[in-house]
């Protein structure tokens, strides 16, 4: 929705820096994210390609012949500044919020045409191929702050927008429009055992994430495609930076 002319609220551009030297591919981020955002547990026939996963951890092997090492790359929605999904959605179910930089996926307006999934180069979007069900009464333990999506709609990481909304409500109760950054920590950042994910406002130069983003060891996935993602990765290993910031390794 186009903001109308008025005193513009302060701009935030929430982003992440994920340290690939720390990530061990344990999947705690995926599980914590699923608990926090009411992501449905796997139905009977779901596979790695039809499951709903908001932050997918993939293994990237050292392409050099002698290299036996791997790094594990957690790929949430990259919250691009020029999102390829927003401009293709036919009914504006996807919207880059100028105030927070988060790319909203409004499930109630989503037709399920899945064009945004085809357009996203990071495969960060999942479709509800199955009807979301919570077995054995765990439906009573769902997070009241996040609404469950319906079968036939697309969903993706929202940088735990529910927690941002709660933080803004808390700040509002205390009479301020700006949230306390400590109140807004996404579930994956909180759950990562190796503390590999740093989250914060890229627009605030003093924040940890902005400092790390400026370092030379930080890089973006698929930089040349012009999507300008706000999720950065870093590693002290040159081979990691070289092989992952390159758009594509052609393996015959």
């Amino acid at each position: 929705m186009e903001p109308t002319a008025n005193p513009r609220e302060r701009r935030h551009r929430y982003g992440m820096v994920i340290d690939l030297d720390r990530c061990t591919g344990c999947g705690a981020c995926t599980v914590a994210c699923s608990v926090e955002n009411n992501v449905p547990p796997p139905p009977e026939r779901s596979t790695e390609r039809t499951g709903v996963v908001w932050i997918r951890v993939s293994e990237a092997q050292d392409p050099r012949p002698a290299g036996a090492r791997s790094v594990f790359v957690p790929v949430p929605c990259q919250q691009c500044d020029d999102p390829p999904c927003e401009k293709v959605c036919p009914q504006r179910a996807v919207e880059l919020d100028p105030k927070t930089g988060i790319v909203a996926q409004v499930a109630v307006r989503c037709l399920g045409c899945r064009y945004c999934m085809a357009a996203c180069p990071y495969h960060a979007r999942s479709f509800n191929w199955f009807r979301p069900e919570w077995p054995d009464g765990t439906a009573a333990l769902l997070n009241p702050d996040v609404s469950v999506r319906q079968r036939g709609t697309v969903e993706k990481c929202s940088f735990c927008a529910g927690r941002l909304q709660a933080a803004k409500a808390k700040a509002a109760a205390a009479g301020s429009r700006e949230i306390d950054p400590a109140d807004y920590v996404p579930a994956c950042v909180e759950a990562c055992p190796s503390r590999a994910i740093v989250f914060g406002d890229l627009e605030d130069p003093s924040s940890e994430v902005a400092r790390l983003a400026r370092e030379s060891e930080s890089f973006r996935l698929l930089p040349a495609l012009g999507t300008r993602p706000k999720v950065l990765y870093r590693s002290v290993e040159p081979w990691v930076r070289a092989s992952l910031s390159q758009p594509e390794v052609s393996r015959g």
């Binding site: 139905p43 026939r45 779901s46 390609r49 039809t50 499951g51 993939s58 293994e59 990237a60 092997q61 790359v73 790929v75 390829p84 401009k87 293709v88 959605c89 036919p90 009914q91 504006r92 179910a93 307006r109 989503c110 037709l111 399920g112 045409c113 899945r114 064009y115 999934m117 085809a118 357009a119 996203c120 180069p121 990071y122 495969h123 999942s126 479709f127 509800n128 191929w129 199955f130 009807r131 079968r151 036939g152 709609t153 697309v154 996935l221 698929l222 930089p223 040349a224 495609l225 012009g226 999507t227 092989s243 992952l244 390159q246 758009p247 594509e248 390794v249 052609s250 393996r251 015959g252």
Partner: protein
């Protein structure tokens, strides 16, 4: 026993034989209906599509069917706007084909979409920058125009002719048909283009991303050209098939040759444009996105042969055949060339849909393959069966080929 329904002067098989012809297609329709019911009741997990292959068989065949259905707008454009009178012989059949292709495509889109009951959201909250919004708007409007063009053919049928008030309406509609043809051309120009634009704007996939001419990617114009080329070929092909099946002379041979000529020249222009576009795409656009063109074809299932097949074997060869007077003279060659042209367009749509999503984008992606489930194939055969049934019934009870009467007199 249904002679009073058949237009005077046309000879059709007996009703039992006609029903015998319809029986297999009706069975296919029933099977397809069951698959579609499953997709609605159980959900889209019945298909083999997944988070990587968001578009599958249905979207691919939607594009192909709409490209082949472009015969309606192009024949209408040549006849009503450019006043090429000889096309009067096939315009009715082209309109019926167009209507069936578009209505079938929209039907399968309703099954493919996860929440069909919210389809009107695209109209109520349109994102004017999205190619799919433009496709949705134009597809629905053009289906309306096609219905309006189809109505006169139905109202002139022998039984309905007695409803005088409707016949008068049909007569008046016939007078203003040129307006609808022009509107149809305008709409088709945009949605054929937008279907091409669907893939051209995807800067996430260097394989399908194309630099833009004005505000549209180049595939916008390529899809229009290829649709306009494939349309007449498809009309020619179907007319030939129907005449072979019904063992009747339906149109004068020079009408088919004229269609072939038009399709040939357009195909030639398309192949030229496609060649230039591919060169720009391989040497400028992709490298700028940081991708080596060789990587597009580095995988066993999609080698460079597929590009050669699409542009040369199914593009240049039929174009040259259709352009040369001598080749067009022999009906066998004419039909073969138009069939090749149609397959060329179908292959182009396949490559844009399936190969785009199969190729890896992230460094740690793998090349993935996809094959449709039986539900997907059955649902599509539902549309094919629906098309054949309605066309057969139209061919029997309506006058699709006005010249058939004189030709019948020999």
């Amino acid at each position: 026993m249904d002679e009073p329904l058949i237009a005077r002067g046309l000879r059709r098989t007996t009703l039992p034989r006609f029903l015998l012809w319809l029986a297999p297609w009706a069975a296919l329709l029933a099977l397809g209906a069951w698959a579609i019911f499953l997709c609605f009741a159980e959900g889209l997990n019945q298909t083999n599509m997944d988070n990587r292959f968001a578009f599958g068989l249905w979207i691919y065949l939607d594009l192909t069917v709409i490209a082949l259905g472009a015969g309606a707008f192009f024949t209408g454009f040549l006849l009503y706007v450019l006043k090429r009178k000889e096309l009067r012989a096939v315009v009715n059949s082209a309109v019926v084909l167009g209507f069936l292709c578009y209505s079938g495509a929209i039907l399968i889109l309703m099954v493919d979409v996860g929440q069909p009951l919210r389809a009107w959201f695209t109209f109520w909250h349109p994102n004017v920058h999205s190619m799919l919004t433009e496709v949705t708007f134009c597809l629905t409007c053009y289906l309306l125009v096609l219905a309006i063009e189809y109505a006169p053919v139905v109202l002139r049928s022998r039984k309905l002719r007695d409803l005088l008030s409707l016949l008068v309406l049909e007569h008046q509609l016939h007078k203003v048909m040129a307006v609808f043809a022009a509107v149809g051309t305008f709409l088709s120009f945009f949605h054929q283009g937008s279907l091409g634009g669907l893939y051209g704007v995807m800067n996430g996939h260097p394989f399908s991303y194309r630099a833009s001419l004005g505000i549209w990617p180049s595939t916008f114009f390529l899809f229009i050209l290829s649709a306009a080329a494939a349309g007449p070929s498809f009309v020619l092909l179907t007319t030939w098939v129907v005449s072979k099946l019904s063992r009747k002379e339906l149109v004068k041979p020079e009408v088919l040759r004229f269609l072939g000529k038009v399709s040939g020249w357009l195909l030639l222009v398309y192949v030229g444009a496609k060649g230039v576009d591919s060169l720009v795409w391989l040497n400028a656009t992709s490298p700028r996105a940081g991708v080596s063109p060789a990587s597009f074809y580095a995988y066993p299932s999609f080698g460079t042969w597929i590009l050669f097949l699409e542009v040369v074997v199914l593009g240049l060869v039929p174009a040259l055949l259709l352009v040369s007077e001598r080749a067009r003279a022999r009906t066998g060659l004419l039909v073969l060339a138009s069939a090749l042209a149609c397959c060329g367009v179908a292959l182009n749509r396949f490559v844009q849909t399936i190969q785009t999503q199969a190729l890896p984008t992230l460094p740690f992606d793998a090349f993935l393959s996809y094959s449709p489930s039986w539900q997907e194939t059955a649902a599509f055969l539902f549309v094919v069966a629906y098309g054949v049934l309605v066309y057969s019934i139209s061919f029997r009870y309506l006058v699709l080929f006005p010249e058939e009467r004189e030709l019948a007199k020999g």
